[in-house]
Symmetry: C2
Subunit: 335 residues, 2 copies
DNA sequence: TTGAAAGCGCTAACAC
DNA sequence: GTGTTAGCGCTTTCAA
């Protein structure tokens, strides 16, 4: 059995109150006694029982990580895993643990881990979470941080990447290669990332005076198959684009397929830029130019933010945007 | 504040013991009273406080998921994420939660989440975990399940995929295409999966009477760069292979690069098969033939096993092997 | 500076 | 069938 406060107290012939105070660095213990308590604690391999502590403090030293099953459909390119791990690495530094749960649209709006007081805060990840669920949580006063999600016009603690800026840079780069008929293959417009990427693309086109040439296709998913279908529509149209900026790498790869099926070479006949920098992008031929997302950074910031909120739930909401980076490879036309 | 047993008891003018019994489906409560308890529990939105319950039962309804940072180096092809999610999905069905932690070689051999009594069992994932840590845990009597890991000659509850069988099938397929000089690029030999895949390859060669032609290169990592280097050695040797079976897809992709750098076409000059079926495999040109691993199945089985062990820690260890599947694409020479 | 004691919310004897 | 009560291990008043 694990050692308890009482074990230490007995051994030292003192009260458990003093032991508790010494172990928790609280005032009111002689420094010599404190040291002896610390020593015997180590000697006995004492580790505080979290259940007991939680019961009285109502603090669990745990944060919940909530994700929608759509966002991890056992796919081999799980966008949110690096974010999850970065969060864990940061939290563990502060003696916090992370509790995972997936939540689909049918799930009750109340999380069991919250009701059961298993977590001190929540990190809600991805755009597919039930909006009602998200709203109800951020208005509850419970510490909540959103990652790659942002509710309507309500302020919340969010961590996003600079989707708009990244898209702007991608489109501008294509324009720099001399293209004027640049199309966009976008994701679902109820995702904040899709909207921002679309907006960034539009802004770049407008700033280059190419507003009239804007052409965007939005689908309900962002898979390779979807990208292929969208690109097919574009390439088979009356005025096919000479360049495509896809809202993610998977769709860009699909677009490349559509191009290949029509005998079009990349980047000669069709220039291509994606978004994400998934591993396939690098190994593709030609290697795919794309926008890199700093997921570790996003995770780290999410972790820090939730800790701040837990320690001071009254803090005003902060929206954080992590910059992106254009990764130049060959699909855009660069040597 | 959340409702407690006492709130329900007061409202019904009964004792909290009766409430507890009714809520926990224990005998000794009149069925009419029981129903009234259930009703008021719902009415009051009662959810049991886990800390309080854990304190007395020393059960947490939580299992720990332990992974080595090497196995998720913020890579975009995180092998273990699908397994993690499959575990979560299965556990949530049984009202269990999953607590995540990463553990590197410097970490203390005792997990804080175990010492603090935060978890009822542990799922240890990946081959890079400190062997001492693994051994100490499986001999502790604490419920432990290993995934893609297996200690020396000690029996343990393990979930593996059929690495040997998959490798045998891959090599045999290459042999079927008429190749006789088939090389293997393997992973670190202290990984059980690498050893099994290597053994499967050797067995296939032997069964085909090609034992003398066996050629294997083992490196310390399994990245694309590593695969490229290994393939380079093989291709630049006196008797270069006409086919390569790589122990994972990333290395296969690297091998393809090495081939391309030497003007070799795939599968014409060099046939190639990988292992894993990562997303890049499908989009590669030519699409990569590989061995599919049923990760969701592995996760599900791990979850079920740990629950069994928690409910009966005395069960004898069971080793589970999930079959693999040859995914025929073009890099092997198939049309 | 230290100790005694109450109590967090729950389960599980033990009594009636 | 139902109530009383003793803790689980810890933090935190309140006294001394």
């Amino acid at each position: 059995m694990a050692a308890t406060l009482l074990d230490i107290a007995k051994k030292l012939n003192i009260s458990i109150a003093t032991v508790s105070r010494a172990l928790n660095d609280r005032p009111g213990v002689g420094s010599d006694l404190r040291q002896r308590v610390l020593d015997t604690a180590i000697e006995l391999g004492f580790v505080p029982n979290m259940a007991a502590r939680s019961l009285v403090t109502s603090r669990t030293q745990t944060v919940g990580f909530v994700i929608h099953p759509f966002d991890h459909p056992f796919s081999s390119d799980p966008f949110y895993f690096p974010i999850l791990m970065a969060i864990e690495v940061e939290l563990v530094t502060h003696d916090y643990h992370i509790m995972l749960t997936s939540l689909n649209s049918d799930s009750p709006i109340n999380l069991r881990m919250v009701d059961q007081s298993r977590v001190d805060g929540l990190i809600l990840v991805g755009p597919n979470l039930n909006p009602q669920f998200v709203t109800s949580n951020i208005t509850s006063g419970f510490p909540v941080v959103l990652v790659d999600n942002k509710p309507g016009h309500r302020k919340a603690n969010t961590i996003l990447c600079d989707d708009g800026g990244g898209a702007y840079e991608a489109a501008t780069h294509l324009i720099g290669h001399g293209h004027t008929r640049i199309a966009h293959i976008g994701g679902p417009l109820d995702w904040i990332s899709s909207r921002h990427r679309y907006a960034g693309y539009c802004a770049a086109m407008r700033d280059a005076g190419l507003e009239a040439n804007c052409r965007a296709v939005h689908k309900e998913s962002t898979t390779t198959a979807t990208g292929e279908k969208a690109a097919a529509e574009l390439l088979d149209s009356a005025e096919p684009p000479t360049a495509i900026f896809a809202a993610n790498d998977s769709m860009a790869l699909g677009a490349a397929r559509a191009a290949a099926a029509r005998g079009l070479t990349i980047p000669g006949d069709l220039a291509l830029i994606g978004f994400d920098n998934i591993s396939a992008a690098e190994h593709f031929s030609p290697p795919l130019t794309t926008i890199r997302i700093f997921k570790e950074q996003m995770g780290k910031l999410a972790a820090r933010r939730i800790l701040e909120l837990i320690n001071d739930p009254g803090m005003p909401p902060v929206e954080t945007s992590v910059s992106t980076e254009l990764v130049l490879r060959q699909s855009c036309g660069c040597a």
